[in-house]
Symmetry: C2
Subunit: 358 residues, 2 copies
């Protein structure tokens, strides 16, 4: 339980999440542990992707790698959103150059019978909990540790489509052809995610982020019917479930990539932090978040890290000027790309330090 972990030396992230006063804007970066780091590639040369996820020592090692280089204000546990479909009995392969691939996707609602409808989350995903506990201990209170999960719609989209897609037309067809069966699948995912996230906090996670990576292929109407209610159930049940166990709820972030049409809808939920992709307007989002007492996270165009370093510093300064230093967590608007330079990420992180002293 969290009370046995080392005392926090830097809790900027947790205070910003709650809208409390901070001396400086906290910064972390999506996919800060990843292939752009040579030390990560060295680990991956010896171990395949899911072996790293499933081996607490390896997951811990790659989680800590970016902390050794950059003045980051959070660690995020190295894992993958597709561990949930795996826990439900689906095979997922990480195919080089193609990304995640399901050899046997759900071709029709009848295929849902193949799923494990009563997964033992602690048995199937205990390796994530072990990795969190080990990492939280090894962090020695240096920075908070973030846990995460894929959101129900995004996981359903992968499970039905069978991998990445520019349209996700197959899972979208389910929403129209088989709305009730879709909701059964989303409910199974939701209930599994709730148990998974409560377990993550018990294991040491201090903030939780939901990744709804495929929200952008939905319109607002579908998002309000097939994505948001499940996100709401998750935040509400995770927080109440923790309280019932006598554990203080942790701040929770919803990051629905592409859901430009639903920023206000998300601001009305019990999520503490709204993550913004790089296409979202900071000033507009700030108006909404202020009205609802939310913290914002984001949203520099990740591709801006390809720019010359002076330009990265300028862009970071300009981003902070738009968001302000209160109720704000600096981040990119999406994850790092594998061909990016660690030196350029360092300029981003250092620029947040430089330009956000309040």
């Amino acid at each position: 339980m969290s009370q046995n972990f080392p005392a926090m030396k830097n809790d900027l992230l947790l205070r910003a999440a709650k809208g409390e006063k901070v001396e400086r804007v906290p910064v972390w970066v999506m996919r800060q542990a990843g292939r752009y780091l040579p030390e990560f590639r060295a680990v991956r040369e010896k171990h395949d992707f899911f072996t790293v996820c499933r081996t607490p020592e390896l997951a811990c090692e790659v989680t800590l790698q970016p902390l050794r280089r950059f003045k980051l204000d959070a660690a995020i546990i190295f894992s993958d959103i597709l561990v949930i479909p795996q826990a439900l009995g689906m095979e997922v392969l990480m195919v080089p150059g193609k990304g995640p691939t399901f050899p046997q996707p759900l071709k029709s609602p009848e295929d849902m019978e193949r799923l494990n409808h009563n997964p033992d989350v602690h048995k199937e995903l205990g390796y994530v909990f072990d990795a969190l506990t080990l990492t939280r201990t090894k962090l020695e209170g240096q920075v908070p540790l973030i846990g995460f999960s894929g959101a129900p719609w995004t996981l359903m989209a992968y499970m039905v489509e069978g991998g990445g897609s520019s349209t996700y037309s197959k899972p979208r067809s389910w929403l129209y052809k088989s709305p009730n069966e879709s909701k059964k699948l989303l409910t199974l995912l939701t209930d599994t995610i709730i148990e998974y996230l409560i377990g993550q906090v018990e294991a040491g996670a201090q903030l939780l982020q939901l990744f709804d990576s495929h929200a952008g292929v939905l319109d607002r109407e579908l998002f309000l019917e097939f994505a948001l209610p499940y996100l709401v159930k998750i935040v509400d049940k995770v927080k109440s479930g923790l309280r019932e166990k006598g554990i203080d709820p942790v701040p929770m972030t919803v990051f629905a990539k592409g859901a430009h049409y639903a920023i206000e809808d998300m601001a009305k939920t019990n999520y503490d932090i709204i993550g913004l992709d790089w296409t979202m307007d900071a000033l507009h989002a700030r108006q909404i978040s202020n009205a609802h007492g939310k913290t914002l996270q984001g949203n520099l165009d990740p591709a801006a890290l390809y720019a010359p370093v002076e330009q990265i510093a300028e862009a970071t300064k300009s981003m902070i000027a738009k968001f302000g230093t209160k109720s704000y967590i600096a981040n990119l608007g999406h994850g790092m790309y594998p061909d990016m330079s660690p030196d350029h990420l360092e300029v981003f992180v250092d620029s947040v330090h430089k330009y956000s002293q309040s």
Copy 2:
């Protein structure tokens, strides 16, 4: 020249484009000629994709196929946005299950030397002009004929990335690393597109649509620097170029998929019609378009055609109620998917007829 073509029997599209009064909202559908039609698949079984594009009789035949089934108010010439990179000397293969692929993408700005910087558009793309003239003649004035082009940023994105991508991180890196070289490439594309579109109108096209399919990976700042100025140059130069030739300019549509952040910016240009993808809010877009005297086009979620037919009719009715019947062209928010039912498209088209009599 257009004056020799058969007189128009149905000019609803052209009147709606100009904001004139119409008896009924015109309707056409992106990718209305395509694999979802068995008669299209029959042609494709005998001829590969680019052979159909390059053979005026085949392009004309597949352009007319959907008109024989549905009460559509426009034909759109069967072609592909990647004919422009081909005209600049790049090889493009249509790989089944993968989509368009460039065996030799532009790996660095130096690779631009490989391009043909003075393409003879009439020689390289004369087959499109021939297809337009043949189709315009064969249409016998039944409905207007739409021509189109990919927009400069979208074509650059394909040429640099080498095919489809969920991030387009390579072309986005050019915008930050090599902005001047990027602008040279965008200018070459723009100048070629201008000549191409003027040629299309001379050959019989009565409305032109620009597809900026990858606008959604840009933020507003990049869109305003690397996409919009080229779109503006195109609309302005195509219209003035036609006037100089003594030809009446045709209405022009800009469809920047994912550019939710730039609807107002586009409304301030000389495009007549703003195409909306299915994630865009109709009421918000209508406020903007009314303020700038523009026509809107869109935007039913294409996946809605997977729904039961009664639901398609309801969704179409609701869409028209939001957009209103003036200055409006009914369409999907993106193209047809190959596994869709022609019968379901028919319900969409018929529902526009039924619910939009003014």
